[in-house]
Subunit: 418 residues, 2 copies
């Protein structure tokens, strides 16, 4: 997290341990089981604001997009001034489902609004799970009715919502924080899901952060984009997005600060960085809970000519099956790391490369250093490992988070639907 | 193989079952064990032509290249008219080894030439194995001396050479064929290694084909490039090349045909297609022997606007961990295939997509078809599976070969060096 925000921010921002999306004043939540998942686990969540919210989102760049994404884009474009709820289901992604899929997404939103007592309420919908199956709308309807009856503002309600959006996640992912912005303490709370981070081309990654700050869409949208690039886009691959990936932020303004109108407002950066810190914590949770993960891996590329090149290099390392299996086996096979950088398409001067596993330097000026195999092995047996590559070409750096590639990853994905 | 060459060629080309690189007149080979591999397995091969050869090659596009690659590029550029031997070692890639690595590559070639009795003989060198370790030159010297003493033109000698270039390969990969070109029967024989095809960023893929055809470099080089694009480049990923990847062709001219001077010669296409057929058979062997592979997977993308887009789409499908684990589990999770196409960067119209597993169509016009789960499962339990995606946008098509992603892949790569 300290990599994501600068030290001055760090001192102002305070994470609320054990917090949830309901830590934010003015938001209620619920998570219920309505039978979309065969297992009987929680599978439908609602988040509701008492007030209409400013809303902004970034969506998947996949050319095949869930009808939920299509619906939400239209909602944020045409009826942005009506939004105050989110309905999320897990167990079915409602992706590649044709015209019926879009009708189902629209119906899901309509049912949410009616359950809240006003058909004109704008409701964002999200779905996650298997691609190519239709939503069981009778169960979705039941779930929305159930959830709307038990909406609550306590932490347990938030935790239930975080549970209800899980698929292969082994645990809910939540974060909440308070920060002083221009003399007013505001709260941010969020949750996300996604454990197939290694290749999120299952309909995978959903994230939502709510806040009580008063912020106009003109300031909210760029803040969401900035935060996404330094959080959720730093655990995905090659801009590798699933059909459903969504990061949504709702701001209800009940904190009482005067409105942050646009990016020129001096409070904009403080808000943006707080949002980034919360999003980065959530994103790291995705990597920590990666399918089959036994290790949390931070890949840092520095000495690059540009942020984009640094990030591209870090992403290629972080997505290399050979690097990830070596980390799983605690095998200091650093040649795989440099081979990955070499094929990443970014500028590389082989004679300037440096490489470290944590603090142990293995390569300097492109040549291997003598090192103790036992020491390297010990470094890689720890539950968290940082791989650093210095390109020696410039001053830019980027960080990507990932996990190792284990037998368990194969087991999970070989029979995901069974 | 029939995908690689047209029917008219097919009728002219005859594979020599059980053939080897030594099936080609005028070439001798040897494979010996000299202690580079800890296991004591064969680890050094020599291929020698009685005549100076026309030579052409394609090399890795990785920005970090083995000194062997650097040395060979220079050799083919500066002393192309001297080449008549190849020395290959397995067990050590001699990559990321600094100035000493280049000196070792040069010395390996020099030792080969001296062993053949003339320091001016051009010797191509190749290395494969772990990156970042120096070649044990005393053992390399011993191996070259041993190999040069047992060079032979029989099939067993060729098989020994094919064994000596293996790393994690479970079996040698060889192909030989005869073809009538302009009334003269010529022979092509080749071998390759590489089983980490899934991500060949270990220093992985070496391939060599020799032939007795008389062909000038001006015709040989474009034929090698053409064949590589339709063979070895169709089993690699994203142009994903290791530090050492090399495909070399030597032509000694002893078949007695009049020289094929350039690509305008009417016999050029016949030769090019024969070379492509042999290279494609070798390349498919790499996919069949993919690390931990339990299934051979052909990915075909058709209906594309261009060959490049078709190939890019096929490559992204073929490299998706989620697709490959689903195939491993015989899980007809076709949503992963379309999600991969959607993020591949090529033009996709979701409403035109068609998808098949073998002959079983699962998606038409972008919407799922009802299908029998049992039938789909049965298709995927077969040892060979073809995934076809029709983009519905044009007439171009491309094929990529791969394998599934299994528990065994993880086991192999988690402790490759131990």
């Amino acid at each position: 997290m300290k990599q994501a925000i600068d030290r001055s921010m760090d001192s102002l921002l305070e994470f609320v341990e054990g917090g949830a999306i309901t830590t934010v004043p003015g938001f209620r939540a619920a998570g219920v089981a309505c039978g979309i998942k065969k297992s009987g686990a929680l599978d439908l969540a609602m988040i509701v604001s008492d007030q209409v919210c400013a809303a902004a989102a970034v969506f998947t760049t996949n050319k095949i997009q869930s009808p939920a994404v299509t619906f939400d884009r239209e909602l944020l474009h045409a009826r942005a001034d009506t939004i105050r709820a989110i309905v999320v289901n897990s167990g079915c992604a409602n992706a590649i489902t044709g015209a019926r899929g879009f009708a189902d997404a629209r119906e899901m939103a309509r049912l949410g609004a009616i359950a809240l007592g006003d058909a004109d309420i704008g409701v964002v919908v999200m779905s996650t799970g298997v691609i190519g199956q239709h939503l069981p709308m009778d169960r979705v309807a039941t779930g929305i009715a159930m959830a709307s009856e038990v909406l609550a503002s306590d932490t347990d309600a938030g935790h239930a919502a975080a549970h209800a959006i899980m698929t292969t996640d082994t645990r809910p992912k939540e974060a909440a924080a308070r920060v002083d912005i221009g003399g007013v303490v505001v709260t941010l709370g969020g949750m996300c899901k996604g454990s197939g981070m290694i290749h999120p081309d299952m309909a995978t990654m959903l994230a939502m952060v709510v806040t009580d700050v008063a912020v106009a869409p003109a300031a909210l949208q760029p803040a969401v984009r900035y935060a996404a690039d330094r959080s959720f886009n730093a655990v995905t691959i090659d801009g590798d997005a699933s059909t459903n990936d969504t990061f949504l932020v709702l701001a209800n303004g009940v904190a009482g600060n005067s409105l942050i109108e646009d990016t020129r407002d001096p409070r904009y950066v403080a808000f943006r960085d707080a949002l980034t810190a919360v999003a980065a914590r959530l994103a790291q949770e995705i990597a920590r809970d990666g399918e089959g993960a036994t290790k949390f891996v931070t890949v840092r590329v520095r000495g690059a000519r540009s942020f984009d090149e640094a990030r591209q290099g870090a992403r290629i390392i972080a997505t290399s099956s050979l690097v990830k299996t070596a980390i799983y086996g605690a095998d200091a096979n650093w040649g795989r790391v440099l081979a990955a950088i070499g094929r990443s398409g970014i500028e590389v001067d082989p004679d300037r490369l440096g490489l470290w596993f944590d603090d142990l330097q293995l390569v300097a000026a492109g040549a291997p250093l003598p090192y103790a195999e036992a020491e390297a092995h010990a470094t890689l047996t720890k539950p968290e490992v940082t791989i650093t590559v210095d390109l020696g070409l410039g001053d830019e750096a980027a960080t990507v988070w990932t996990c190792d590639l284990s037998h368990e990853y194969v087991s999970i994905n070989a029979d995901y639907r069974t």
